[in-house]
Symmetry: C2
Subunit: 424 residues, 2 copies
């Protein structure tokens, strides 16, 4: 191997891709979702890639971190983390999306570490001829299961920069069942998650019951995204008892979740009340949650996700995985790390079926029976399609979106939308 190889260039390319009118607790997805593609190039011309958030504060922070990674060896993960944590600070006045931990600027250093780490591991794998999972201790499974991630949705965006998606409206129990059916027919998923916190709890519970009846035996999850009060969450619990494998973030805050835990036999899951190792330190022992949703993008990388997995094993928490709107580079990074973790005991979340575009060679990644096969080729196992990258970057330049704002978008549909949380 070339021990003297150094990282000579960093390129950050913001991209925008089409995204559906998906409803959530905060509002509704805009027609364009943003990501950033990070490329680290070595002096001998190898390119390692990763995918991360594409909002303006993140782009700024990545730019600030440029000098921290240039000149390092692709093997210098520990030095990179040390430098980033010593230098990168929260952004004052950053636009944050309260319900999305990935937008929190307090996680800037962790987000940068993750972006750099994945690209550096991609380089390591290329240099060594090993898939990333082998650099993470090897795969304990050959394919990683994902769940069918359902959303309440409108048939069309309020503005129409492109033709409507093929999924149609998803509001009623029958439409949600049809959405699940289509997604399972297309991809073979063996568990189902519904993003809730959108409509009256009784309606969302009716949707879960319809799914339960339509897909007997398939594990189900509901995620009201902290949009239910503690009282509402407690009241809903008995009805959800027989329906769910876990009850994800119904109510805000660790204290609320801990109180709710006393009133339900359902395991509570979170990607909201424990979102950093520091929060884990205080939160794990409270018994508030029984399942933790990891996300390498904001926890600090694939290795930190493995640390988190060891902590979950130690504190006897189950482990699943959170997602945001993303493309195939993220999906592959998620797949490598998930394959390496014995106690990743639940199918991972992914927004991938909601995206149509891609930025990697070969186009969209295939699911086989709901799972993604763990790559055995060097590095991440996917390469940038520079033509597609240029197109998606052009979309970024022209779309006008610079920070995700589901609330403002929702107010275009409903000027009186409060955005208050918890709303039910």
């Amino acid at each position: 191997m070339s021990r003297d190889l150094r990282i000579a260039d960093l390129r950050i390319t913001p991209i925008a891709f089409r995204d559906g009118p998906l409803l959530n607790a905060a509002g509704i997805h805009e027609p364009w979702a943003l990501r950033a593609i990070v490329e680290l190039e070595t002096s001998d011309g190898r390119v390692g890639i990763s995918e991360t958030y594409g909002d303006e504060p993140m782009l700024r922070v990545l730019g600030q971190a440029r000098a921290l990674v240039l000149g390092l060896s692709p093997f210098d993960l520990n030095r990179m983390e040390e430098r980033v944590h010593a230098t990168i600070r929260p952004s004052p006045g950053a636009v944050e999306f309260e319900l999305a931990p990935g937008s929190h600027s307090a996680k800037n250093a962790a987000k940068v570490c993750s972006s750099f780490e994945v690209a550096m591991l991609d380089l390591q794998g290329q240099i060594l001829g090993a898939p990333i999972v082998d650099l993470l201790g090897g795969a304990v499974r050959e394919a990683v299961p994902y769940s069918a991630y359902l959303f309440f949705k409108y048939a069309e965006h309020i503005d129409s920069p492109y033709a409507p998606d093929a999924w149609g409206e998803g509001l009623s129990p029958a439409q949600i069942v049809a959405q699940a059916r289509r997604m399972i027919d297309l991809y073979g998923f063996r568990s189902i998650k519904l993003k809730g916190g959108v409509f009256e709890p009784a309606h969302e519970i009716a949707c879960m019951r319809a799914l339960y009846q339509a897909f007997p035996g398939l594990p189900l999850r509901l995620d009201p995204n902290a949009n239910w009060s503690l009282a509402t969450s407690i009241a809903a619990a008995p009805e959800l008892d027989e329906l769910l494998e876990y009850y994800e973030d119904p109510t805000p805050g660790l204290t609320g979740m801990a109180e709710l835990a006393k009133h339900t036999r359902l395991p509570l899951a979170t990607n909201m009340v424990i979102t950093t190792l520091d929060e884990f330190r205080g939160g794990a022992a409270t018994g508030a949650v029984k399942v933790l949703l990891s996300d390498h993008h904001y926890w600090g990388g694939l290795r930190v996700t493995q640390t988190l997995a060891r902590l979950c094993a130690l504190w006897d928490l189950g482990m699943s995985m959170h997602s945001n709107s993303h493309l195939g580079i993220s999906l592959m990074a998620m797949t490598h790390v998930a394959a390496s973790i014995p106690n990743l005991s639940y199918a991972c979340d992914t927004h991938y079926p909601w995206q149509e575009e891609e930025v990697i060679q070969g186009g969209r990644i295939a699911f086989e029976q709901g799972s993604v096969r763990v790559p055995t080729t060097p590095g991440l196992g996917v390469q940038l399609d520079r033509g597609r990258l240029a197109e998606l970057h052009a979309q970024y330049l022209s779309c006008g979106v610079r920070n995700r704002d589901d609330l403002a978008q929702m107010r275009r549909y409903d000027p009186g939308f409060s955005g208050q949380n918890p709303r039910f």
Copy 2:
């Protein structure tokens, strides 16, 4: 790389090497120290090595674990750990040495994982052409500092299977200072640890004061090995205040250490009250200790040591490293992992200067200004000397020692030696 390589053979060779008459809380070292050399051989004839405990229960457990590693790829660290933890149990009736966590049979699975992991990482490094440290995220330092590890000692063993060592008697303050002087002259160490718990605390404190005066500015540590009562430990603290960088395991048990912590401004260090990730879970938050001594041999390997380091950073504990009598393979494994951990904030312990023999090609590893240079050659960076291995194995066969027993050995010097703990 050869992804299809499989581990085809496991060889476990117990060895015995000469060891000095070193005194400790439990008694005195026997003339022979035991280790086991683990070799994993791939189908194409590559050999990965590690060094671990050589007592009979450990040899038995390693033998039981043979089937768990054969057939795996050297990259299957996660699968190996999963199998070992699922299968290897504590040994009923095992000989345990209370003060040495490495002898505890409850740690059998962790000890086996560590032995296999180091040898598998050595294989990975050889296959990939990368030093182990690069497979652990890269070195944050080019050399790893060790401390001068002083022992009270007699000039000679009670039996003399070989000529006395060159260190002479080490009982009085002046002799301890001379021992430190010799060790520092030979190896350049820049911090000093005294293994205490042997004589009256006043005498050991006098030794520390003599070291303090003889080596101004050098960080000092005293390790009474849990042989002081809580009252004794509290009473000694003010006298040690200005002398020590940390106060290691003066008194037994987490509760005792937590109580002591209220009475001293000295950071308390331990390799006795928190010795597993599970003990960390309960113990870290008590505030009983401020410095944790890792030891990959019984914590479960180099990657678990890295996890422990992240936990220490999170719980705001300093980190140092514990040792037992060992040879160069262990020293190299310690050096690789220590080089990868930013917050390994103290010089590591090592018994290495007390050993004269070696089992690796090229003989004894050199210290430069108290540090071991981190290897840049593939794998561990050291290879077995098969001639020396055969000799040390022959010594094992003839020496008669099968389980370390410092107490029985001490009673040969002093039939009335109680071995009671804490004794002072």
